[in-house]
């Protein structure tokens, strides 16, 4: 046994641990490509939380009641928190917060394309919670068992908090759907705009996703993009029916044989256009993010100066 283990390369030992479902921790040996993939995925995930605050922040001052405003504030605060959990997890892999933010601000790093769509009406806040967070949860729940320990632990925390996000969104939709006809129309109109972009959140088709196989092999990912997309449709179509809304896809139909819904093809040209920076709000989102960061520079500097002054004073006293 001893001698057998000695002939395994570090890569083979690493893969054996992964296959045995033993979590990888920050100081453990790992292949460079595993480290790079994780840094890219976790930081991209963190950026999505940060940029995800922007379309909702847009509605905090216009929420229809104090209750809705409080809920929305709490949700946006959670997203800031989720971003921080994730940045911390990424930092355990050897990157820095400054580097990650620089990559986001220069446009080198990506974030979820869904946030490059505008939030035009209050019903969009319902759709963002119900559909977008619903899709995010489907992506995130399997990540609680992802092979890298700090990422998995951050995701457990995120998932615990995220379910309130989806429920409040559903409640917004339900309230609109039970309201006046004009409110229900608003809900339907928002669903029409958000349905397809939400399906795009699961990423390209498996056939066009060259990294999926490696990520599954490393147990970073547990399900493929298409598997999750199918799960999402199966989950959401009955919920839309409950609300009395129609999913904007004439091909949606229950398939008795597959025990799943058939549905139409995502517009992949649109998907790639938004990924490449040509969505409706790409420019605006990035600009808002950079502006917030630059305008906060003096706060970061002042806090450093204050800490240095206090440390100096304490040194004198001691």
């Amino acid at each position: 046994m001893e001698t057998l283990e000695k002939v395994l390369t570090p890569e083979e030992q690493f893969q054996a641990r992964i296959d045995a479902d033993i979590r990888i921790e920050p100081k453990d040996w790992m292949p460079d490509a595993y480290r790079k993939t994780l840094i890219r995925q976790i930081s991209q995930h963190a950026h999505s939380e940060l940029v995800g605050m922007l379309p909702e922040g847009n509605w905090i001052t216009r929420a229809p009641s104090l209750k809705r405003k409080s809920i929305l504030l709490a949700k946006v605060q959670d997203e800031a928190g989720h971003g921080l959990y994730l940045y911390s997890a990424a930092e355990t892999l050897g990157t820095t917060r400054d580097q990650m933010l620089a990559d986001l601000h220069s446009g080198k790093a990506k974030y979820s394309s869904i946030f490059n769509y505008p939030t035009l009406s209050w019903a969009d806040m319902g759709c963002v919670g119900w559909l977008v967070d619903g899709a995010a949860i489907l992506n995130q729940v399997p990540l609680c068992r992802t092979s890298y320990g700090p990422y998995a632990r951050a995701m457990v925390r995120v998932c615990k908090e995220e379910s309130f996000h989806q429920r409040q969104g559903f409640e917004v939709m339900q309230t609109l759907c039970e309201g006046a006809p004009v409110q229900k129309e608003m809900a339907q109109e928002a669903l029409n705009r958000w349905w397809w972009p939400t399906l795009m959140m699961f990423g390209p088709k498996d056939a066009d996703s060259p990294n999926t196989a490696q990520s599954m092999n490393w147990r970073i990912k547990r399900f493929t993009n298409d598997e999750l997309r199918q799960k999402f449709v199966d989950m959401m179509v009955p919920q839309a029916e409950f609300l009395g809304l129609t999913v904007p896809d004439p091909l949606v139909k229950w398939n008795e044989e597959r025990q799943a819904y058939d549905f139409g093809e995502v517009n992949w040209d649109e998907f790639w256009a938004v990924v490449k920076g040509n969505g409706l709000c790409n420019h605006e989102r990035l600009q808002a993010r950079v502006q917030a960061h630059e305008e906060g520079a003096w706060v970061r500097e002042a806090a450093n100066a204050h800490a240095a002054k206090r440390a100096a004073r304490e040194a004198v006293v001691a």
């Binding site: 100081k27 970061r300 450093n304 240095a308």
Partner: protein, 95 residues
Amino acid sequence: MNQSEWPLWEVFIRSKQGLDHKHVGSLHAADATMAVQNARDVYTRRLEGVSIWVVESKHIHASNPDDSEAFFDPAADKVYRHPTFYEVPNSIKHM
């Protein structure tokens, strides 16, 4: 201070009176006071804690995972340290 990034802190939270402080994650802050306040906002938004410790990450010293086999080896062959090592006759109660 020419580095713009605030130092990294590890956060430990006591979830309720009587339990240990447990590591929950890390965050950046300019000093300890700010680290405690940020830890409150980041890690206890839903009453997850009654007490917070923060330690600057650079002060944590850890065992080396590459040595862990040899390092923890002394405990591996001492099954007699566990109560299950001993056979207790069936008629003996309360042991």
